[in-house]
Amino acid sequence: MLKIEGLSKSFGGVAATNDVSLHFPKGSLTAVIGPNGAGKTTFFNLITGAFKPDRGRILLDGDDIAGLSPPEIVRRGIGRAFQIARIFPTLTVRQAVLGAVHAHRNQHRIIAKRFPMSGSGDRAEQVIALAGLTAKADTLSRNLSHGDQKLLDIALALVLEPRVLLLDEPTAGMGPEERWAMIDTVHRMWELERMTLIFIEHDMSIVFKIAQSVRVLSYGRVLAEGTPDEIRRHPEVIKAYLGDEFEASQA
């Protein structure tokens, strides 16, 4: 499905991503973890075209998409939500999702018709419902709570019917209860939409609970990969990332 081969990217002298090779099977649910500065977000930026890789290949179903622009990569089926929700503050939830539906259907440059185009409403309502935002559909995006803004960000990515969805810390900045609600929603989306989901997460309890497999990045390299159980016991990972605190909490 999504296969990364020898991906590298340096900023100045710093190798943010250093010869990373990873494989994400179709329909898998994978967590990417690693200490701050491990290159997780850079890794997402490379896959989605925000940065151009220095070296390496990004194969989506066999096609190399490395070096394409973000819109081109989106149209190939890789969607993305951001660590800090990137939304459209002056649009309502419904308008924003409808706008994304038009963009996905390549109707976003149409001038002759009125917004929204007929036939776009059903898809928008479906995605809004999937994100659990139906009651807030007429709310201006900027007036949403932090958690709802993150859900909207994910909903915008979902509109594109991505084959691969990348979520950068979907629970960042949320309280404990909100976190689990978010993760439940994400998990439900993954089950319903049958996509390959890759998410960056710092909360180990979430990672170990829902991820099928885990990839650990450290200093731009792949430190370890495996099932949550394998990662939990991986000596390198414990040393480099989870540290004494984690061992203590497991005791």
């Binding site: 989605t48 622009s69 973000p70 819109p71 989106v74 149209r75 969607g79 993305r80 951001f82 990137r86 939304i87 459209f88 503050p89 002056t90 649009l91 309502t92 308008q95 924003a96 409808l98 706008g99 994304a100 038009h102 963009a103 996905h104 390549n106 109707q107 976003h108 440059r109 149409i110 001038i111 002759a112 018709k113 009125r114 917004f115 929204p116 185009m117 007429d138 709310t139 201006l140 900027r142 007036n143 915008l156 990515a157 509109v159 594109l160």
Partner: protein
């Protein structure tokens, strides 16, 4: 609220035009029709600038490029070739689209202040060209000798009532067209880019292409404003391509507001009235205008129509019987250039 449709808006536009057509029989005198012809030119021009500033978040300082281009292109074509007014009109729109595409391809990749100043640079390039190319443009004397106005379709633009009808007709039609554009899927894509140009590409939107389209469309309407001006003064002058003309359009949208579609129209009325009254009373026009603009910028911190829209929204909230409906009134209300 009734859903806005092209049919409904067209009917409103026809009704407005009918009223405008009858107005000169009520308000006598050439002063009124003259005012309205100038208002048509500047109203279209300012509204087209607001397509960029208010809807797309592209703060152009050089929109006068198209006003000047429209003036000179139309005037020169009419003086040089034995063509009818509609032909010169369409040729000028076509030329502005070509120029808009070339200039836009260079400018719209730039952000904010860089975009503002490079658009301004291109406008000053046109101005320098007009001043320097005396044999064609008349240099700093402008395009003199009058612009021929052969009658077409029974319209005789020598007649001031005909010119009034022609100009206000173009004004209403242009406003209708631009309103339709901002209500189209393209119009909402503009709002998305204005709100978050970094997010849009990850929804598959090619920001460059959409911005370029917006720039070209706004330029074409800006040129229509210039053509009306050229008919009004029966010539073309370098001032119409000078940076101050862009400044006037910016003042208009500042005074009238950028969040309401008709804000720039209101601003155009205000600035033209200010201009006419203040210049009659004092020679310190710039001083008075500066004070008025400062009052708006520092006092209201927004244009008149923005202020009115916010006030209306607050009243809706205050009079809401239940908290939940009140909340809905706030949240469903359009924000910046919403509806």
């Amino acid at each position: 609220m009734m859903r806005s449709s092209l049919l409904r808006d067209s009917l409103i536009a026809i009704a407005v035009f009918a009223v405008l057509a009858l107005l000169p029989f009520v308000v006598q005198g050439k002063g009124f029709t003259d005012f309205m012809v100038r208002l048509a030119a500047f109203g279209i021009f300012a509204t087209s600038l607001n397509l960029l500033v208010g809807y797309a978040g592209m703060e152009s300082f050089g929109h006068g490029l198209f006003f000047g281009l429209g003036c000179y292109s139309f005037g020169l074509i009419m003086q040089t070739f034995p063509v009818s007014i509609p032909v010169a009109f369409l040729a000028t729109v076509a030329l502005s689209i070509v120029v808009g595409t070339v200039v836009g391809a260079i400018c719209v990749r730039l952000n904010e202040i860089y975009f503002a100043f490079v658009t301004l640079a291109f406008q000053m390039l046109l101005h320098s060209l007009i001043i320097a190319w005396t044999p064609i443009t008349g240099g700093d004397q402008g395009l003199t000798g009058g612009i021929p106005r052969p009658p077409f379709l029974g319209i005789r633009l020598d007649d001031y009532y005909h010119l009034y009808l022609f100009s206000t007709g173009l004004l209403v039609a242009s406003l209708l067209a631009m309103y339709h554009i901002v209500q189209s899927p393209f119009g909402y894509t503009l709002r998305m880019i204005r709100d978050n140009a970094a997010r849009a590409p990850f929804l598959g939107i090619n920001v460059f292409r959409v911005r370029l389209m917006a720039y070209v469309i706004a330029g074409a309407f800006g040129a229509i404003g210039g053509m009306i001006m050229s008919l009004f003064v029966s010539g073309a002058f370098p001032d119409f391509a000078y940076w101050t003309i862009s400044g006037e359009a910016i003042f208009m949208i500042m005074l009238g507001g950028i969040t309401v579609f008709l804000g720039p129209m209101v601003g155009a009325v205000m600035l033209l009235l200010l201009n006419d009254f203040v210049t009659k009373m004092t020679s310190h026009y710039g001083l008075v205008l500066g004070i008025v603009i400062l009052l708006f910028a520092l006092g209201l911190r927004k244009g008149l129509m923005d202020f009115a829209a916010d006030l209306w929204r607050d009243r809706q909230t205050a009079s809401g019987p239940r908290p939940d409906t009140a909340a809905k009134a706030v949240t469903s209300a359009p924000a910046r250039a919403g509806e």
